[in-house]
């Protein structure tokens, strides 16, 4: 049976259609965002401890960092 390739093993190339430049006046490279924006558009690769629910863990991060909004990618229960 043919193995189903996991998304992280799929090789993708970026093919050029046209060339252009970007104006440095607008936006930022993601790694160069000013601190406030870096947090505003940030994610955390969290190692969840055993015990609390994913929802509780996310709520703690929200409280620790005084955030207004938080989300988590895929419940990892109890």
């Amino acid at each position: 049976m043919p193995r189903i390739i996991p998304p992280w093993e799929i090789k993708r190339e970026l093919l050029t259609k046209a060339e252009d430049t970007t104006n440095p006046k607008y936006g930022h490279r993601p790694s160069e965002r000013p601190a406030k924006e870096y947090i505003q558009y940030g994610t955390i690769n969290l190692d969840k401890p055993a015990g609390p629910t994913s929802h509780e863990v996310a709520a703690w991060v929200k409280k620790i960092m005084h955030l207004n909004n938080i989300g988590h990618g895929g419940t990892l229960e109890a």
């Binding site: 049976m1 193995r3 189903i4 390739i5 996991p6 998304p7 992280w8 799929i10 993708r12 190339e13 970026l14 093919l15 050029t16 259609k17 046209a18 252009d20 430049t21 970007t22 104006n23 607008y26 936006g27 930022h28 490279r29 993601p30 790694s31 965002r33 000013p34 601190a35 870096y38 947090i39 505003q40 558009y41 940030g42 994610t43 955390i44 690769n45 969290l46 190692d47 969840k48 401890p49 055993a50 994913s54 863990v57 996310a58 703690w60 991060v61 620790i64 960092m65 955030l67 207004n68 909004n69 938080i70 989300g71 988590h72 990618g73 895929g74 419940t75 990892l76 229960e77 109890a78």
Partner: protein, 257 residues
């Protein structure tokens, strides 16, 4: 259960849906209800490397109807008494508890899930340099508040773009960005480069030349078609990620547009 739980902060919360398309990896301890030999377990685990049917368990957050999930790999690691250690790569939404029950049924002895650790969620892995615990988050955030050194933020926060690296992508011109931020579909003239392997219906990320995520979109054409097309819509917007006005508005409004 422990392991990788990607957390999205503030406006980055808009990317959580990307994790629905991105696959997971778990290491699991399965407890057998009888004695089974290693030689019997290995081939049964391999049988599950396929598209499988699962009905969500009684205690679940979704409608309990039969659905299919893809298992990319199922690697036997160790047998210790009645405890089987294995690693599984699977589509998001696969119930590992159910998988253990089904393996137990096929083996005849019965089995249940004893322990589970997620070692990957999409592009987020256990071995990443930025992986942190709750304690690390509290510590580094405290350090940041005290010293206001941006390098500290980079120790535990990654840009939301890192959550999108497994999706196919399209890079667009500066002049196409603001219309997309207003929810317009992507048209051919704005496209600068296109990822290989895009098919009609693929979920993809639209990026600026600086590498900023602009929006999540659904492809309306294949990679080859997008490279060929001179005009027309190539991707339908699903979720805008960048605020309006980040790039200048160069598109026209009204009948002359």
């Amino acid at each position: 259960m422990t392991g990788i739980l990607p957390i999205t902060l503030e406006d980055a919360t808009k990317v959580v849906q990307a994790f629905l398309y991105s696959g997971k990896e778990y290491v699991c301890v399965m407890k057998l209800h009888g004695d089974v030999k290693e030689e019997q377990i290995k081939p049964v685990l391999k049988e599950f490397e396929d598209e499988i049917y699962q009905r969500p368990p009684l205690r679940s957050s979704v409608k309990r109807q039969l659905r299919t999930r893809r298992i990319y790999y199922m690697d036997y690691l160790e047998l210790d008494g009645r405890n089987v250690l294995f690693k599984v790569g699977c589509e998001a939404g696969t119930y590992i508890r159910k998988l253990c029950f089904d393996i137990g049924e096929i083996l005849g002895a019965g089995a249940h899930m004893q322990e589970l650790r997620r070692t990957r969620s999409g592009s987020f892995t256990e071995t990443s340099a930025t992986k942190v615990t709750l304690h690390d988050v509290a510590y580094w955030f405290g350090e940041w508040e005290e010293k206001k050194d941006e390098a500290i933020l980079h120790k535990f926060i990654e840009p939301m773009e890192n959550a999108l690296v497994l999706l196919p992508k399209i890079v667009v011109r500066d002049s196409a960005v603001d219309a997309l931020c207003h929810g317009a579909n992507l048209t051919a003239p704005g496209v600068l480069s296109v990822g290989s392997g895009i098919e009609k219906g693929s979920i993809l990320g639209i990026f600026t030349l600086k590498g900023e995520a602009v929006a999540l979109a659904k492809a309306l054409a294949s990679t080859e078609e997008m490279l060929d097309l001179k005009h027309g819509t190539v991707a339908g917007l699903q979720r805008v990620l960048m605020p309006r006005g980040t790039y200048p508005r160069v598109w026209k409004t009204g009948s002359g547009a």
